[in-house]
Symmetry: C2
Subunit: 267 residues, 2 copies
């Protein structure tokens, strides 16, 4: 089922061909039942990955505002030992970051062997917000797709698996979530007036995302387009893809040191 | 009850005066019942801390091998949104770290405003393992207690609360836990032959810890000596101290931006 949401590499992506709201014959209770078991597998796989310390997993999350990046991280990695997970939220670049190439700050946070790294936003912002707002010239952002593909290839060649999720919500769903933030006193701080001009450029962002999902959707670093209007379904699919990927990576507890059978621990 | 385990600042600490095994009139089931409620408070406090973004909390964990640092982190922060927590495990310093002062690498990982930082081992190793193994001269490590106190003062003055936990286990308990690691195929990788020479120097380590707990136990950055032979009790007390501290810090959701009452989200 999850492969369903990974477009074939090379295929031109049109987002209107991808649903935002799952309406199939599968409900929240069924997902919850399966998820308890998926989470147990995930916790076990993470422990093996950490113990083995030979491979790592990088999870990239991108979405429009209120698309559910925070909620996904909180939910999917709930059962995982936090010590094996490194989460990086990329904000507006600092002055120091801006005087380097756009991948400089990203590279510093790629997961070391044994770890799961999670990017809440990522280097893709440099071909999304940067492009939509003309922060660099077209020739500069156009060259970045190749830079990104090459960079991701470097990581993969060094033992990092990469999974990229676009949490795909409808414009109506965003409106509802913004309204919810305005209505709830404990959520208001999440709303910023600056979110509205971004919403106004919705179509420009969708176009920029389509280029990302077309040009940087490789065999070695696949994009998944997740129907994200329903949170339970989004969480379920993301968890499933991560568990299946870790299972394919098949991390193993390392062999014990030689001679441990004969060890006697002195008093 | 938790204040019980924080020696008065300035008092000379003798570890034999502190229990490793809790034997009081309070059992695992009672702790579990209270902990569910503590964890809920912790999750809520962390969300407020993150939203407020004006203060941070640094939790330092130190213990002998198998003392339960990993288990404490996994258990205590289970219910907390991983995105607001930054865990740093300090290993043997790298070549680059060694050509700086001993606090250089530590400083890079202090928690930013809004975050809970957790140190699995810390700058205290520089007056523990370094001292016991004569890695620097006595005059060098002796000067470090003041450097540490000054550094922690800097952090506290900048809005970081500091809590330091020594997970106090008995030498017998360590033996049992090492044996358990040897006996369980999924735990063997955690055992290293290098753990045994460290165990042999147990008394030297206790003496070094006593100096740490005497000289660096300040009003502004208190040490707690946690009876840690029983894991459930250790987890309960550490959670309790953290929750009480965050409650005293009293983080608040920030006020919403002006004029949000009049906002209408366009379609």
């Amino acid at each position: 089922m999850s492969h369903h949401y990974h477009p074939d590499p090379g295929k031109e992506v049109r987002l209107k061909d991808y649903i935002t709201r799952f309406e199939g014959d599968f409900d929240k209770d069924e997902a919850a039942a399966e998820e308890a078991e998926l989470e147990e597998r995930l916790a076990n796989l993470q422990e093996r990955l950490y113990a083995e310390s030979k491979q790592s997993l990088l999870v990239v999350l991108q979405a429009m505002d209120a698309g559910g990046k925070d909620g996904t991280i909180k939910h999917v990695f709930d059962a995982v030992n936090p010590q094996g997970v490194r989460i990086t939220s990329f904000k507006v670049p600092t002055a120091e970051e801006l005087v380097h190439d756009f991948l400089w700050r990203i590279h510093q946070h790629t997961p070391p062997k044994g770890y799961i790294g999670i990017f809440n936003r990522s280097h893709y912002e440099d071909v999304l917000v940067v492009r939509v707002n003309d922060l660099v010239s077209k020739s500069v952002w156009k060259a970045r797709y190749d830079h990104i593909n090459n960079f991701e290839r470097l990581l993969v060649d060094s033992g990092t698996r990469i999974l990229k999720f676009f949490l795909h919500i409808s414009k109506d769903e965003q409106k509802e979530r913004f309204q919810d933030r305005l209505d709830r006193p404990d959520k208001r701080w999440k709303f910023s007036m600056g979110d509205l001009p971004v919403r106004e450029k919705w179509d420009d962002y969708m176009e920029a995302y389509e280029d990302v999902l077309t040009r940087c959707n490789t065999e070695y670093a696949p994009w998944y387009i997740i129907p994200a209007d329903r949170k339970w379904y989004r969480n379920y699919i993301v968890t499933k893809v991560i568990v299946e990927t870790l299972e394919a990576m098949n991390p193993q507890f390392p062999p014990a040191e030689e001679g441990l059978d004969k060890v006697v621990i002195p008093d």
